[in-house]
Subunit: 274 residues, 2 copies
């Protein structure tokens, strides 16, 4: 079995992929959209995607890709994210910092304070950023500790993210018709279900939609809105609920929800890999 | 009167500032957080901040700053955003592109297709990006048409954002004790009210909170969640409703809302500058 992750090796996605798939072949790809492409075209059997960060919120690119493709989520896992400043230079000679946009966002306060004048260069992953920093003078990267080993860089500062408690939630995605059996490491007992929907264009629709869950005592753990990308100021909503789509109250709530929605897409019911 | 905006001149924020304050002194600052600082410290009387984009969604830095400061919104305005590729080089020799993270996000598909290998450098504003592109070989910027004139760059491509209908919503912020009278250009008749709240940590709290608006027939036009930045996976919610805080049903709804919330912060009732 092959699993696509946001590479290169030593990215945070690589760590999450090892946690979920300790024995499978892991295939680095260059961008989040390429993970989706790789799974859709069956180049790989599964993919692991970053969903949200505990401080920075949703990875909007991932949400938009979940909305526009037909892949489903079959597991999730959480990873502690410690951002480090990596370089072979002295702090005083660093003029350029490479990282993923999430790396910059998670460390914004620290970077503004310590490197107000540095050029911040967006890379497709933090590991890719470390690779670049290793090859360019007067530069550094915001990346993982393991990227320091991998690319031969020194760790100039540890845990530089603005909040000490910094976790990223990852999801495992497969094609709808995926029929292989995956044996995941020990997982939670409880299921979580993720879905997205667009409400009809009339006042109170969002309330009526959410009420469907309340009416059947279904616990909503998260709600997130994203632009529909069809019409300006029209939104789609991403919702997480506790339980499986096979639970009767959830099935009933979704039938009710359907009455108030322009569309519903069930992203999957899955457990959390510990 | 002095108004802070995300500079330098010719940024989209500058255009929005001119629309809201055609006759006041406009003061460019370097980052969104510096707009908040400038107004809080009374260096300027007001500030104009980007709130959300019709395709990319909320400007998360702005939402987080609204949550952590005590400034209020007194007006909003919408700006059509046409991103252009600006450079004095041939397309084939462009190796580096400067822009604001929102500029990259709005043009992601176009950039991946046309410049899959270019280095993408984050700048604090699109106008700042144009300034850099004017001073560096083999580079370009994603910025406004007016930035091309300002920094002497050629427009290599127009309207390169992924969605033709691309608007950004801006808000005018002042200190709570601001007592000056601002005469804005012609505005909408209707008020909009923005607030943020954190729900109590028990199942169904978010539903009960939203129900407060429904019970008083208050129309919720937007809901957005952001990490609380206090505890991992704890959220605050940003809500827009139609009407003014002085309307009786809204007052009553907020009293009811308060029962279900850990905290509420009213960001302001305001009109839209046309």
């Amino acid at each position: 079995m092959k699993v696509a992750f946001l590479g290169p090796e030593s990215s945070f996605s690589n760590e999450a992929a090892k946690k979920a798939f300790p024995k499978e072949e892991l295939v680095p790809v260059e961008s989040i959209s390429k993970i989706f492409e790789s799974v859709e075209s069956k180049k790989t059997d599964a993919g692991i995607i970053p969903l949200e960060n505990s401080n920075e919120g949703s990875i909007t690119q991932t949400l938009d890709a979940l909305a526009s493709t037909e892949l489903v989520i079959i597991a999730e896992t959480y990873l502690e994210v410690n951002q480090c400043l990596l370089s072979n230079e002295k702090v005083s000679s660093i003029k350029k910092i490479f990282s993923h946009p999430q790396g910059f966002a998670q460390c914004r306060t620290w970077v503004e304070k310590n490197f107000p004048k540095a050029e911040l260069v967006e890379c497709a992953s933090t590991a890719g950023a470390a690779k670049k920093a290793a090859g360019e003078k007067n530069s550094a990267a915001i990346a993982s500790m393991s990227a320091a080993n991998k690319f031969g860089l020194k760790i100039l500062a540890k845990s530089i993210q603005d909040s000490a408690d910094n976790k990223t939630r990852f999801a495992v995605i497969v094609k709808k018709d995926f029929s292989g059996a995956i044996k995941f490491p020990p997982s939670s007992k409880e299921f979580k279900t993720s879905l997205l929907f667009g409400v009809k264009d009339k006042p109170g629709s969002l309330f009526d939609a959410i009420k469907s869950f309340k009416d059947y005592n279904v616990n909503m753990t998260k709600i997130e809105s994203r632009p529909s990308r069809k019409n300006a100021w029209e939104y789609v909503f991403f919702i997480d609920i506790s339980g499986s789509i096979k639970d009767e109250p959830i099935m009933k709530a979704i039938v009710e929800l359907n009455k108030h929605c322009a569309f519903i897409k069930i992203l999957g019911s899955y457990k959390r890999i510990e």
